[in-house]
């Protein structure tokens, strides 16, 4: 075992985007920061990877819709190659056998393909959803409120939320509270009638979680989505040029500029604990690295149970960590296609956007049902992008890449994923064939990542991209576990900065930024 001469101020475990953001933010505060990445490349599930000769695609996350503006500002990402312009916003297309419905601009500023009355209803509902998501936004981005020990700043933050609620007006406030924990299905039924629109919203509310539209609290997922913004507009989305890896590259460049040392292929074996304090790490190569602060931007359960070990923390805490639900329910499909597919009735702009197969809320609910019992639906719902239409450099000339997030693909599939994977792929291809006839014949290569694959490849237990189910009981003060939601842990000097911490997953950088700010705010 060798021991490094260097003593770091902070060691960040995990080079996913949150780890990079935390490392970069800490380095900017003048700290000497070392980031240890297990793989050969940083970026985690936000990498751009080659999956077939000449074909590159965003690994898991393929749409940028919630990169936190404070992350962009703090790390000056625009100076490091990240550009987002209004013209980059892409539409959402609700595919249907009755012809598509298109939401243009930031989450359907303009709705095309619906009846005039539905357009009016949508305008109202959209405004309401954004208004309510706006109330929750401070909660869903800043540090979670610490009910026991609230600082003046936190009180002020809560006060602002109270004020925002008040500003809603009496009726609106009552309605906000009424619908807060509702299921999205019933809310949509109250206000809309077009199944295509309702199907899309039901899909968005439940994407990435183990909930169906009719499950209580499913509306929260939609708020979470709409609390995100990009380019200053809530609900907007872009397909980053160069794939998600380009966003990570900008964050990485900013972190390195700030002085972060990044080491690849350096998986951490354990966190060194001395008298209740984390004082460094030992890598799997046997190198001991010491630091004043250790920040883990990997999965919270992996951090506590594997790197720290249950012997260094209390039984009750271990109980809570072991009980965090994190069984992924989404698969990722990558297709290398000979040529761009043609989705029926969709125009050129639509093909550059997000194409959603979720023709009705009932359809989404039916797709969810089997997942409760360890099976997938014969008609899975999915979100599709064609990244090479935005950035042709991702594929050989004339070819096309398709990227899709497919729900519901339960982590614990009854028959096991070895047997189940070809069957799920077949079911997905059958759905694609319905909306883009002829697509099957153009497939050069298909890669389907089941939750089991995502778990193994991206070190995400359960293959869950939120690193912990994002539901009411695992949000805010209860994320990752109750009592330890402020990025700290029972071990002094050990902090959590990944998606498993508040507010959760998606390429936002918020957990990483909040954790770094929390550490900076501590008295030395």
């Amino acid at each position: 075992m060798t021991s490094s001469e260097l003593n770091w101020d902070a060691i960040v475990i995990g080079g996913g985007h949150n780890g990079l953001v935390a490392a970069g933010t800490l380095a900017k505060s003048g700290r000497k920061v070392l980031l240890l990445e297990a793989g050969n490349e940083v970026g985690g599930a936000a990498r751009t990877e080659e999956f077939a000769p000449g074909f590159r695609v965003s690994a898991v996350a393929h749409l940028l819709n919630r990169l936190h503006p404070d992350v962009v500002k703090t790390l000056e990402l625009e100076r490091h190659g990240l550009t987002i312009e209004r013209g980059d916003f892409v539409p959402s297309v609700a595919l249907s056998k009755d012809g598509p419905l298109v939401l243009h601009g930031a989450y359907g500023e303009v709705l095309i393909g619906a009846s005039p009355s539905e357009q009016a209803a949508w305008k109202q509902l959209r405004a309401q959803l954004l208004r309510y998501a706006g109330v929750l936004k401070p909660f869903l981005s800043r540090r979670p409120p610490d009910l026991g020990n609230m600082s003046l700043a936190e009180m002020t933050g809560l006060g602002r939320t109270a004020l925002a609620l008040k500003r809603l007006g009496k009726e609106d406030m009552r309605d906000f509270l009424r619908v807060l924990l509702m299921n999205v299905y019933d809310l949509l039924d109250e206000q809309l009638s077009d199944d295509r629109l309702k199907g899309l919203l039901a899909f968005d509310a439940t994407l990435g979680s183990h909930l169906g539209p009719r499950s209580p609290t499913s509306l929260l997922g939609l708020y979470y989505r709409l609390a995100g913004e990009i380019g200053g507009l809530a609900g907007a989305q872009v397909q980053p040029k160069g794939g998600m890896g380009a966003v990570v590259a900008a964050i990485r460049a900013a972190a390195e500029k700030a002085g972060v040392s990044i080491r690849h292929a350096s998986p951490v074996a354990r966190v060194i604990v001395e008298k209740g304090r984390a004082v460094g790490v030992v890598t799997q190569n046997g190198e001991t690295l010491r630091a004043k602060t250790v920040i883990s931007a990997i999965n919270p359960a992996t951090t506590i149970l594997d790197l720290v070990g249950p012997r260094e923390v209390d039984t009750g805490f271990v109980r809570k960590v072991r009980n965090v639900r994190m069984k992924g329910d989404a698969a990722k499909l990558h297709l290398a296609l000979d040529r761009p597919p043609q989705f029926s009735g969709v125009d050129a702009a639509g093909h550059k956007g997000r194409l959603v197969i979720a023709p009705s809320p009932d359809h989404v609910e039916r797709a969810f049902n089997p997942s409760k019992y360890g099976a997938f639906s014969p008609e899975p719902v999915m979100e599709i992008t064609l990244p090479s239409l935005v950035d042709p450099s991702l594929v050989p000339s004339g070819a096309c890449v398709l990227s899709a997030v497919v729900q519901y693909a339960p982590y614990a599939l009854k028959e096991g994923w070895t047997a189940g994977k070809p069957l799920l792929l077949k079911a997905i291809m059958a759905q694609l064939e319905v909306y883009a006839p002829g697509i099957g014949a153009t497939v050069r290569h298909a890669e389907l990542l089941t939750p089991a694959d995502i778990e193994a490849r991206y070190r995400m237990p359960g293959g869950h991209w939120h690193h912990g189910e994002l539901q009411a009981d695992q949000m805010l003060m209860s994320r990752p576990v109750s009592g330890w939601s402020d990025y700290d842990t029972p071990l002094e000097g050990l902090f959590l900065a990944g998606a498993g911490s508040h507010p959760g997953g998606g390429v936002s950088g918020a957990p990483g930024l909040n954790a770094a700010r929390r550490i900076i705010a501590m008295r030395a």
Binding site: G276, R311, T315, G316, V318
Partner: protein, 411 residues
């Protein structure tokens, strides 16, 4: 065509559901105790039918102090903890340093939840390098099993399988010797050893809950009655008597020992947040070893110490007069409520009016003068209110040389 299966009530299921017909379980010694239980004065000890008193509480108490008392401790919760990691596991679960507990030794310890609040106290028997028995008042299997995550250890409840007897009092050693437990004289206080009994073995430890010379014996349930008979036969001329809890409770109070859910509320029982107690608040601070490895509650306990967040203290009191101050309120300067007496008696051994009390710091901690207790003495349907001076005194209230004398005296 369709034939429906007839659903017949399963006799096995009905039998399994009849547990409620036995309101309180009997221990393996119940046939003998029932025969002696002239007063039929039973209470519920962890689901078992246990005697408050068998024939006379005064004489039962004096059996402990002048003869030998036999007390059935079978209802005490017992866990068998075994495996290569048993030592490390118990060191993490309990407060005291288990690495210092040698095989063949017993120590008194306690365990806490994450917040440093005491879940229970009990005795830990190290039967071999890798095998332990943990005895306690309350049940803790879920906590112990969850604590075993990633330890190579098995935790099993053996409350029903193992019968226990406490033999306490000055003649207890002589009885064991006369009963033929050769070598029992070599047991020093907190030692344990195995002895042959009825084709099997009995584990005898020089431990007890009386502050007197005494032993505890653990035996497989099916050897329980033969052990009882063996002791009674050997003890006949040395005044052996079966006793109930009331007598034992007096002896333990003289010895200054505390009882979970009597002198403090165990953390899993407490409903009110201010009833939880840290070890330092119930006199168990001596168990805490910040230099041993991690243990449950360590962070919270050390933080409470550093930030001076300890709010209570458990003290021994000597109260003027001879009226027991049971559950009396403790006052500072006769006016300000500062605590409560949890156990009290006139001690025939100490010849003092003694009590255990929980006080709110700084009273009992740095302010120990001018403390009073208000005793409500019922006298023919009228309370006589007595304001009596109380003095904080060290525990135990009595110290008997015979408890630790080596070799034990032959009375």
């Amino acid at each position: 065509m369709n034939r429906h299966a007839t659903i017949e009530p399963s006799t096995a299921r009905l039998a399994a559901q009849s547990h409620f017909r036995t309101l309180r379980l009997g221990t393996p010694f119940q046939p003998r105790i029932d025969a002696l239980g002239l007063k039929q004065d039973w209470y519920n000890w962890a689901g078992y039918r246990a005697p408050h008193s068998l024939w006379d509480e005064e004489l039962e108490y004096f059996a402990i102090r002048s003869q030998a008392a036999l007390f059935d401790i079978s209802p005490m919760t017992k866990y068998r903890i075994e495996g290569p990691d048993a030592e490390a596991y118990l060191d993490r679960v309990t407060l005291r340093d288990v690495t210092k507990l040698k095989p063949g030794r017993v120590h008194y310890t306690a365990w806490c939840d994450d917040d440093g609040f005491v879940l229970d106290d009990g005795t830990l028997f190290r039967l071999s390098p890798t095998r332990f028995r943990l005895c306690s008042q309350e049940r803790h299997l879920p906590w112990l099993l969850d604590s075993a995550f990633r330890y190579d250890v098995t935790v099993e409840e053996e409350t029903e399988a193992v019968a226990g007897l406490a033999l306490q009092g000055p003649t207890s050693f002589a009885i064991l010797r006369d009963a033929g437990f050769a070598g029992v004289e070599r047991l020093k206080i907190f030692n344990l050893a195995e002895f042959a009994h009825d084709g099997g073995t009995v584990t005898i430890s020089r431990t007890g809950f009386t502050g007197d010379l005494g032993y505890e014996l653990f035996v497989p349930a099916h050897k329980a009655l033969s052990l009882w008979d063996r002791l009674i036969a050997a003890g006949e001329l040395r005044g052996i008597r079966a006793i109930g809890y009331t007598a034992l409770n007096r002896a333990r109070l003289e010895a200054g020992l505390i009882v979970a859910n009597a002198d403090f509320t165990a953390a899993e029982h407490a409903i009110r947040a201010d009833r939880l107690r840290m070890p330092d608040e119930i006199g168990l601070g001596f168990m805490i070893d910040p230099d041993k490895g991690h243990f449950n509650g360590r962070r919270a306990i050390l933080e409470a110490r550093a930030r001076k967040k300890l709010r209570h203290v458990l003290v021994g009191l000597e109260i003027e007069g001879n009226i027991p101050a049971e559950h009396a309120i403790v006052y500072y300067r006769k006016s300000q409520e500062v605590g409560l007496v949890s156990a009290a008696m006139w001690s025939p051994m100490a010849k003092r009016n003694i009590a255990l009390a929980s006080l709110q710091r700084p009273y009992g901690d740095t302010i120990v003068d001018d403390l009073w207790v208000e005793i409500y003495a019922m006298r023919e349907l009228q309370y006589q209110k007595l304001m009596k001076k109380a003095k904080v005194v060290p525990r135990p209230f009595i110290k008997l040389d015979r408890r630790t004398a080596n070799p034990p005296a032959d009375f």
